[in-house]
Amino acid sequence: MTTTSIRKLLAASGLALTVSVVGQPAMAQDEGPIRVGILHSLSGTMAISESTLKDEMLMLIDKQNEAGGLLGRQLEPVVMDPASDWSLFAEQARDMLTGDDRVDVIFGNWTSASRKAVLPVVEELNGLLFYPVQYEGEESSENIFYTGAAPNQQAIPAVDYLMSQGVERWALLGTDYVYPRTTNKILEAYLKDHGVAEDDIMINYTPFGFSDWQSIVSQVKDFGSQGKKTAVVSTINGDANVPFYNELSNQGVSASDIPVVAFSVGEQELTGIDTAPLVGHMAAWNYFMSVDSDANYDFIDDWVAYTGDDNAVTNDPMEAHYIGFNMWLQAVEKAGTTDVDAVKDAIIGVTVPNLSGGWSAMMPNHHITKPVMIGEIQDDGQFSVVWQTPTTVAGDAWSDYLPESKNLISDWRAPLHCGKLNVESMQCEDGRGAE
């Protein structure tokens, strides 16, 4: 690493700790190791969730190197710590994608805010980003591959399931930022399409890290006592969930009265909570640690061995990285090079096994196919799958339930190359195809 880039790095990371595995400088493109950027917060509020993904990527890279690397070359991780600071994400992505020691691919980001910050950087410098977390949709970038769930792969099926259970009243609770707001907008439109009255929908937003849930839970209790079966759809993010669930159990709201289905609570988040009073509350994901498949058990064994912690848990974003990493490996082998444009073309249609015993394919809109599952919380902090889509569902970048995006699709194959194609007017509004 050259002195300038070290200085740049130090300036960018400020107080935060920056770990970087130093490689050979100024190699030609097809010699030396292949660099894999890992851009996850290792400090700050998101460290709870993101640091696990960093470890997982290191494990996957280790395993691949043991198996002989890629194209006969070794993989070399380049780890940075954007410290839960959205602008630092953009700066560090720029550092990763410039200079002689440019990375060939980035696996990273968790919050939508950080993804939105990195998006213009990877587009400008033509990088590759694999984004592993469920998100609000309404976006498609030529340089980003969305391996987490779009709303039609998580929120909509979850609501369908609750409707089939007789739920008629809906409390949509969320943390106040872009993902919950967009998801709730889609859900509200969807519920109204299905004949739910305005009065039967309650929407409430709270700040990050909120802990004073007493009046909101009591409001929900009141909302749910009007004689109609009520459910809470929770897009509450991060550690605000712990006091939220505690308040639910203290006020005696059990899953048989008012079930809560959450989109951001997984095995990792439940490790901080006593789950005995929460048994029966639900989460919707594309993977649960309790999923019954040999691929999953092998993955858990590897993970436990790698972390050295017998109680280590796996979760849905980890599966997304597992799928994304294997897809990228296959695409590089198919293209015979790590060149970004070649990999971008080669990866569409690539199909790899997922952890629930099926297969996931990369679609032309840079989203993947996944099964959707509903799990109920158990007293050991795990989820038991009570419902699952019969087949995998393809991610939809632009929601069909919002009037402004229902005519939009995304297709990055030649000759369209378009991330925002209006199928009515056949006008491309974003992407290479727009020019």
């Binding site: 048989s256 006593d274 029966g280 038991s384 009570v386």
Partner: protein, 544 residues
């Protein structure tokens, strides 16, 4: 795809409620053939368990029902294991097992039919039978009816409560008969309500009187339906309903007041240490939040040292949190603050730096992840005063704790020698020294006292929110707000300001949401300070 099957779920569940309730109210066992208990042979037992091996929850529910009605000796244990998610079938084989301990990854298992030790199993070798919410409710009902031999008053009452709105033409006679035999007046009253509600549904106007003032939401919902209809009862039902609604509204107000006071008590606890260091000594201590965090971490540490005794640990944390935070306070005062006396800007920057150091220290020592502090049983759940009003025990505990801390602190400042010296030093430092008060020692003790009280706030907060390195950050702004609003240097001001901000916030929250409520409160305080810079309680007399 499964919606048709699922729709039947609740109905099945409903039917089983009726069966269960009838069982609970009469002498139990008869309904499920407990008396005719005789061992069954192995093929029969196997067939009963085999029926559970399906992915259709409705079929599984019927299989559980069949087990409960069978004469198998093992049935209670089977149903309990199914409820606990510990009953399973061998993946490649025909045996059924019960997992006796499902922690870790290799579980000890026993044969489900003979209960003989069967070695170990794991996720890979066992198919655990899954249940969902409806099935869970049904299983709990079945187990209750199997294990309940003599239906004590509490379970009879619970059954009677569940009967409200469930009485129908088929069961009304048996409920009536039960009501006449019932000895306990509370259970009898509950049965009266259930019967009256049924009678009202049948058009009986007299029964309406029994329901007057009843706070049960099911009564309210039924009456609302009748009042909205055009039956002869509509007008009378409306008048009863109005009475119920206005009674509920009063309890709702009481509940909002409680929510407000409990939110306020957290503000007061967080701010009262600052009221001493900032209010009385004039030190702007940006590390105040981190002292709160230290108190919370002390609670966690004491709990780690005393596993299985969260109650005792919490009680010990009260002096523990105080002493640890006070020690940190004294060190901070000795090493930083006393050198910056009279230089508020530098104090502000130095203590802000300290707050970052303390946060990082905790991150390095205990990891950046949140720590889980368990609540003792007596701080979990709620005190149910009636159908419309319940007070959560952890909030109630914090409210009482807050008032106790305030009273102790007030007494300390008012009646002890230290309090006298503190007041003397803050009113006129030079004069106090001339009178023989050791001002530097008083400074140290005062700062330690303020820090210790912050530690107490941390002990209380560990019961309500996440214990993590960022715990204190969320409270520092609120604390300054409360102290400035209440009037600098005045403990009563802090109490009144904290409580009123809490109540105002809770009143606004349902109307405008949590974010806007906070903004409105902040704007309100800013405007108030513009009008009255000295806060609610102005310091009396000359302050030099």
């Amino acid at each position: 795809m499964t919606s048709m099957v699922m729709d039947k779920g609740p109905r099945l569940y409903r039917r089983s409620i009726a069966i269960l309730l009838a069982c609970l109210l009469t002498a139990c066992g008869v309904c499920v053939g407990q008396n005719a208990m005789a061992a069954i042979d192995e093929p029969e037992a196997r067939a009963l368990l085999e029926a559970l091996d399906t992915n259709d929850f409705q079929a599984k529910g019927e299989a559980a029902q069949a087990i409960a009605e069978s004469s198998a000796e093992q049935k209670t244990r089977w149903l309990q294991a199914l409820l606990d998610g510990r009953l399973g079938k061998q993946r490649r084989g025909e045996n059924f097992y019960i997992v006796t301990d499902d922690s870790g990854r290799e579980w000890p298992i026993i044969d489900a039919i003979t209960f003989e030790d069967a070695g170990t199993g794991s996720r890979r070798t066992l198919d655990i039978f899954r249940i969902n919410n409806n099935l869970r409710g049904q299983l709990q009902g079945l187990i209750a009816s199997l294990t309940l031999s003599d239906g004590d008053e509490a379970s009879r009452l619970a059954a009677a409560q569940r009967l409200v709105g469930e009485v129908d033409a088929a069961s009304v006679d048996s409920v009536r008969a039960n009501r006449d035999q019932e000895e306990s007046p509370t259970v009898r009253h509950q049965l009266d309500v259930a019967l009256a509600l049924y009678a009202v549904e049948q058009g009986d106007a007299e029964a309406l009187e029994t329901l007057r003032g009843n706070l049960d939401t099911r009564v309210r919902n039924t009456l609302a339906d009748i009042a909205a209809g055009d039956s002869a009862l509509a007008a009378r039902a409306q008048s009863v309903l109005d009475g119920i609604e206005s009674k509920r509204a009063w309890y709702d107000r009481a509940q909002t007041l409680f929510f407000g006071l409990s939110a306020g008590s957290i503000l007061v606890l967080a701010a009262i240490g600052l009221a001493i260091t900032f209010g009385v000594m004039g030190v702007i201590n940006m590390a105040h939040g981190e002292l709160i965090m230290i108190g919370a971490y002390t609670t966690w540490l004491i709990q780690q040292a005393l596993p299985g005794q969260p109650g005792l640990a919490l009680l010990l944390s009260i002096p523990g949190g105080f002493l640890v935070a006070a020690a940190f306070g004294v060190v901070i005062e000795r090493t930083v603050i006393r050198f910056l006396k009279g230089r508020p800007l530098e104090t502000l920057l130095a203590t802000f730096g300290l707050s970052l150091i303390l946060q990082q220290l905790v991150r390095t020592l205990f990891s950046p992840l949140n720590r889980r502090v368990t609540s003792p049983d007596w701080l979990q759940g709620a005190w149910q005063i009636n159908e419309a009003l319940s007070l959560t025990l952890n909030r109630l505990g914090v409210l009482i704790f807050c008032l106790a801390v305030f009273a102790a602190l007030w007494a300390l400042m008012r009646y002890t020698r230290l309090g006298l010296e503190v007041r003397a030093v803050t009113q006129n430092r030079a004069m106090a020294r001339a009178m023989g008060v050791r001002a530097t020692r008083v400074d140290m003790l005062t700062f330690g006292l303020g820090a210790g009280v912050a530690g107490l706030a941390g002990v209380a907060l560990s019961q309500l929110t996440n214990v993590g390195p960022n715990l204190g950050q969320g409270y520092i702004v609120d604390s300054f707000l409360v102290v400035v609003f209440g009037g600098v240097g005045n403990l009563w001001g802090t109490l009144v300001a904290g409580m009123s901000l809490g109540v105002i916030n809770q009143i606004l929250q349902p109307w405008v949401g949590a974010v806007l409520a906070k903004i409105l409160v902040l704007i309100g305080v800013i405007l108030f300070i513009q009008k009255r810079p000295q806060g609610i309680f102005a310091p009396k007399g000359r302050v030099s």
